[in-house]
């Protein structure tokens, strides 16, 4: 029996996963003004990398870390290559950059569909992940804790990176004024590749999380693209370019989705939870077109 606390935690956990996806998008957009549609396939590739790695691992205890690592590294690698081969040559043409990510997403998903078909594959996970932890009278799935933990960890890591490291400062400055960063003698291109890689890493991890915790440990080629739309909504609600905004918006969207789905279930519309997220977007747009914490550019 689910109670309000359990529902809330599951909403927050969903929000944490949304944040993982949205943070990468927001970071990339903030610095490069590129809306990365290929993020969808980064998500999916991360999940598949995890699936592949998990096949060779005994599923117990902390071997999941290896699976997660595989997903993260795969995401980062694909993203870095994408930036170098496709985004870099189109510097100065933001619309073309967006379009090329769309093309990449289309092509890679097509490739995955060709290779795997539209059927799902099951990812091997350790038992603790599908188990439930009982606190008092609440039964919380461990997947929720995992999601929350990862979300917080990534938020902390990103904040530390942006605030205290050299490249973090470069990225923050570059998001304000790319030209001036160059005019200080810094090669902004390297920052671009780094940001894409970070975004891709977060995406890979999020994709694995999405499969394992929120899709019954199943992965299929279109999974990432379906998640991507929610990530876009989160980024717009939170305000393009703001990591903090993405965090708040992600939690908001996760909670709304879960509450509406659970409490309005009698209404007969199973997708009402999803549609209400769009309604939130519409309201935010009416009241604050820039999003909650959007930039004023």
């Amino acid at each position: 029996m689910s109670t309000f606390v359990a529902i809330t935690i599951s909403g927050l956990a969903l929000g944490a996963m949304y944040f993982l996806v949205a943070s990468g998008l927001s970071l990339i957009y903030g610095l490069m003004e590129v809306l990365n549609f290929a993020h969808g396939v980064f998500l999916t590739l991360g999940a598949y990398a995890g699936w592949a790695a998990a096949q060779y691992l005994p599923q117990q205890g902390w071997t999941f870390i290896v699976t997660a690592l595989a997903a993260t590294v795969a995401g980062a690698a694909v993203a870095a290559v994408t930036e170098l081969l496709l985004i870099r040559p189109l510097y100065g043409k933001p619309v073309s950059q967006i379009l090329v990510t769309i093309g990449l997403d289309l092509a890679l998903v097509g490739l995955l569909l060709g290779g795997f078909g539209s059927d799902s594959r099951a990812i091997a996970v350790p038992a603790w992940l599908t188990a439930v932890t009982t606190i008092g009278s609440e039964h919380i799935p461990n997947g929720d804790w995992l999601s929350l933990g990862l979300g917080l960890a990534v938020l902390g890591l990103l904040t530390w990176f942006l605030r205290y490291t050299r490249y973090g400062i470069i990225i923050r400055a570059g998001a304000e004024n790319r030209d001036m960063v160059s005019a200080l003698g810094i090669d902004v291109g390297r920052a671009f590749t780094l940001v894409f890689a970070i975004g891709g890493a977060a995406a890979g991890l999020a994709g694995l999380l999405n499969s394992v915790v929120f899709s019954s440990a199943l992965v299929d080629p279109t999974q990432g693209d379906q998640l991507l739309i929610f990530a876009f909504i989160v980024v717009v609600i939170g305000g393009l370019g703001s990591i903090t905004g993405s965090a708040i918006a992600a939690l908001l969207v996760g909670l709304v989705q879960v509450y509406v789905t659970f409490y309005a279930n009698g209404g007969g519309l199973a997708q009402l939870g999803n549609m209400s997220v769009v309604l939130v977007l519409a309201i935010v747009l009416l009241v604050r077109p820039r999003g909650l914490l959007g930039r004023t550019t």
């Binding site: 957009y29 003004e33 809306l35 496709l86 040559p89 189109l90 043409k93 619309v95 073309s96 967006i98 379009l99 090329v100 769309i102 093309g103 990449l104 997403d105 289309l106 092509a107 890679l108 998903v109 097509g110 490739l111 569909l113 060709g114 290779g115 693209d225 739309i229 876009f232 909504i233 980024v235 717009v236 393009l240 007969g268 519309l269 199973a270 997708q271 009402l272 999803n274 549609m275 769009v278 977007l281 519409a282 747009l285 009416l286 077109p289 820039r290 999003g291």
Partner: protein, 361 residues
């Protein structure tokens, strides 16, 4: 005022400066060929998308009809994206609305055809006005994302089968009971083909007229630089909304014709984001802002897609080595790859390549 506009839009799209007599003649010739095609029983091996290798077979006519429908929708999208410079991912909403509402009106409510069409158009217009006004509050990327979100919301709506109207995941098969005889039945495929062609021609004519008018000039100005257009004293919003509504209405009409040709709708076929991405790819592949580019891009895209699907279904295909089979079995991979190559090396699309060739001569 037109002088100022002319100066502001100093670099008109390729089609306007390079439109030569040769181009127009070619267009007319192609149109005539398209009209008479259903009368040609030519046997053409290998390249036809249908299962029968005859030029005017039902399979070929159906595919070509689809090409024309999407070509019309693509031209409408070119108005919004190519001319006004507004990147929108939401036109699929209106396309789906056109297909679904007409289907529901004919099949579930048993309305006469004309009334059903008028209802569909009316709903489409209202939706376009309301959603357009709302989404255009966002600038640039925010606008694009919101259109995507609303389109996705529509997908969820029809998938949910509200009031048992839409048939949910499996979709709704159109009932032909209120349709005039000449549009029903395999034998009348050619009539549907001509209907699709008429839709394309009509749409193209409308777009050609409007984009050539003063309104079209303002749209170009908006695309080039919103700030400069504002400085000229134009209130941009009505023009943007106009472009949005025109593009959406064309999509709605296209959706209706689609329904008549295919005879059934489902969420994944007409309402998913893959459709919207396809239209965008068609326009860019053909050459944004050139009108005929959108037509060319759509025809190439749909044709290639259907052709590849046919090839992949043939028994000999399964015997190809995996290295060739896997990429080719999914049209998306090839189309996506071609798209990426075009963006990198030929951003003007097919129209751009043609223009470049003309210059070299």
């Amino acid at each position: 005022m037109t002088n100022v506009l002319t100066r502001l839009t100093q670099r008109p799209p390729a089609a306007e400066t390079r439109r030569s007599a040769a181009g127009r003649v070619a267009g007319v010739v192609l149109l005539v060929l398209a009209v008479v095609l259903p009368f040609c029983s030519l046997i053409v091996p290998w390249v036809l998308p249908g299962t029968v290798d005859v030029l005017n077979s039902v399979g070929t006519l159906e595919v070509l009809g689809l090409c024309f429908v999407f070509a019309g929708v693509a031209v409408g999208y070119d108005v919004l994206f190519g001319f006004t410079g507004l990147l929108s991912f939401g036109q699929v909403l209106y396309f789906a609305e056109g297909a679904y509402v007409l289907d529901i009106a004919l099949t579930v409510w048993n309305w006469p055809l004309l009334a059903a069409i008028l209802l569909t158009l009316a709903i489409g217009l209202v939706l376009a006005l309301v959603l357009g006004a709302l989404t255009l509050r966002g600038q640039g990327i925010a606008f694009a994302m919101v259109t995507l979100a609303f389109a996705q919301a529509f997908y969820y709506l029809v998938e949910d089968n509200p009031g048992n109207l839409t048939g949910g995941d499996t979709g709704l098969v159109m009932s032909a009971s209120r349709l005039p005889g000449f549009l029903v039945g395999v034998g009348n495929t050619r009539n549907l083909y001509w209907l699709a062609l008429a839709f394309l021609v009509l749409t193209y004519a409308v777009v050609w007229l409007v984009t050539g008018s003063a309104t079209g000039r303002v749209w170009l100005a908006i695309r080039e630089s919103e700030r400069r257009a504002e400085v000229l004293g134009f209130r941009l919003f009505p023009f943007k909304l106009g472009s949005f509504v025109l593009s959406s209405l064309i999509a709605t009409a296209g959706g209706m014709v689609y329904l008549l040709i295919v005879g059934t709708v489902s969420p994944s076929a007409v309402a998913s984001t893959t459709v919207t991405i396809s239209i965008l790819v068609m326009v860019v592949l053909g050459g944004a802002g050139t009108r005929w580019g959108a037509v060319a891009g759509a025809i190439v895209y749909v044709y290639l897609q259907q052709y590849l699907l046919k090839v992949a279904a043939e028994p000999s295909f399964a015997s190809l080595p995996a290295v060739a089979r896997v990429p080719l079995s999914q049209p998306d991979f090839l189309l996506g790859a071609i798209f990426v190559l075009f963006i990198l090396f030929a951003p003007g699309g097919i129209a751009g390549l043609v223009a470049r060739k003309k210059e070299k001569r």
